[in-house]
Symmetry: C2
Subunit: 207 residues, 2 copies
């Protein structure tokens, strides 16, 4: 089985619970490295710099862009979000599986640069449930809901670029399914060329 680190992108609708799935995965399987994004948005209560995000100024973000320090970045609801290269590179070179929780624009950019990336899209089990979660949190303004719906329409249009669709019906099942997908990917023939070549060459010599 391939020991080389696999890069996985997890995206999903707002309200798909992908953040909770990611926390569950890291708790159950500490071998994964979660990439920490840089953002210009303000920290929410409880969010920690360097853990949830690297909170940077717009000035600092522009420097990261011009310094070619990001694998991808995008503007989203008026703020910038990006994936710093350094941590991803370090983890992959150590053979770790790295997970990026980023949105659909970023996913496409990562896949361009790393064609072996596994793209996973998290969705609630039904359209009804999805609409309920998008509109029904109760605490947000109609404007916020409209914006979330607009994003969801765009996200739905990008689902076809993903390799896997992960239905989040039951949290524990979903966490194990995510782990199962990455474990199975390690066994894909295209990630085990070296083993296949060694066996083939050995038999060529015997022949």
């Amino acid at each position: 089985m391939s020991k080389k680190g696999i890069l996985t992108v997890v995206s999903g609708f707002s309200g798909s619970g992908k953040g909770t799935v990611m926390s569950g995965l890291l708790k159950a399987h500490s071998e994964y490295a979660l990439s920490v994004s840089a953002t210009t948005r303000d920290p929410r209560p409880g969010e920690v710099h360097g853990v949830n995000y690297f909170f940077v100024s717009k000035e600092e973000f522009r420097e990261m862009i011009s310094g070619n320090a990001l694998y991808e970045y995008a503007e989203y609801s008026g703020n910038f979000y990006g994936t710093p290269k350094a941590y991803v590179d370090q983890c992959l070179s150590e053979g770790k599986d790295v997970i990026l929780e980023i949105e659909v624009q970023g996913a496409a950019k990562i896949k361009e640069q790393f064609p072996d990336t596994v793209l996973i899209f998290v969705t609630p089990p039904t359209v009804e449930e999805l609409l309920r979660r998008l509109t029904g949190r109760g605490s947000e303004s109609p404007e916020k809901i409209r914006e979330r719906m607009k994003n969801a329409v765009r996200e739905a249009g990008s689902m076809q670029i993903y390799d896997y669709i992960l239905v989040n019906d039951d949290l524990d099942e979903c966490v194990e399914a995510l782990h199962g997908i990455i474990s199975a990917e390690h066994r894909r023939a295209c990630r085990n060329r070296q083993l296949i070549d060694t066996i083939t060459e050995e038999f060529e010599m015997i022949r």
Copy 2:
């Protein structure tokens, strides 16, 4: 997640332990349906007609071929082996995951007819271990060993058509890895077009 039955082919080197892996899978996960092959070879002690194989005469096998009742068949060490269509069709129509334990020639023929088939190749962990298992059972004639080596050379040459390489180092791990691969395959986007289309269409209407 796709509820449609998936067709999986498991092949592997002689001595890879694929038969034991299959037994382990069916014991741990009774939801899988194992296709029973037809063969013209004699039953070995303990083998049961309809369980291990359908043991048929060469005459009967020829009738199955001319009646188009087999998905694939091949001659192997002077005997015929084939996959009867009826059982596979029935299980897939019931939404069951069907597993065929067949050799490399048959695997290619199944993939031609069912492009969605998952092809899994079982191998010992190293070339050294493979050679040890091919030559070292002790009980067989040099002629038998030569034949097994010849088959292994051909099998090694076909490894690249497989989707997954399953290293059989530890039986229980290998069984769960096989189950994990098929579970992950159910979540592949290409097997979940209907869910993606439903979500996309729903949002098109809202738009």
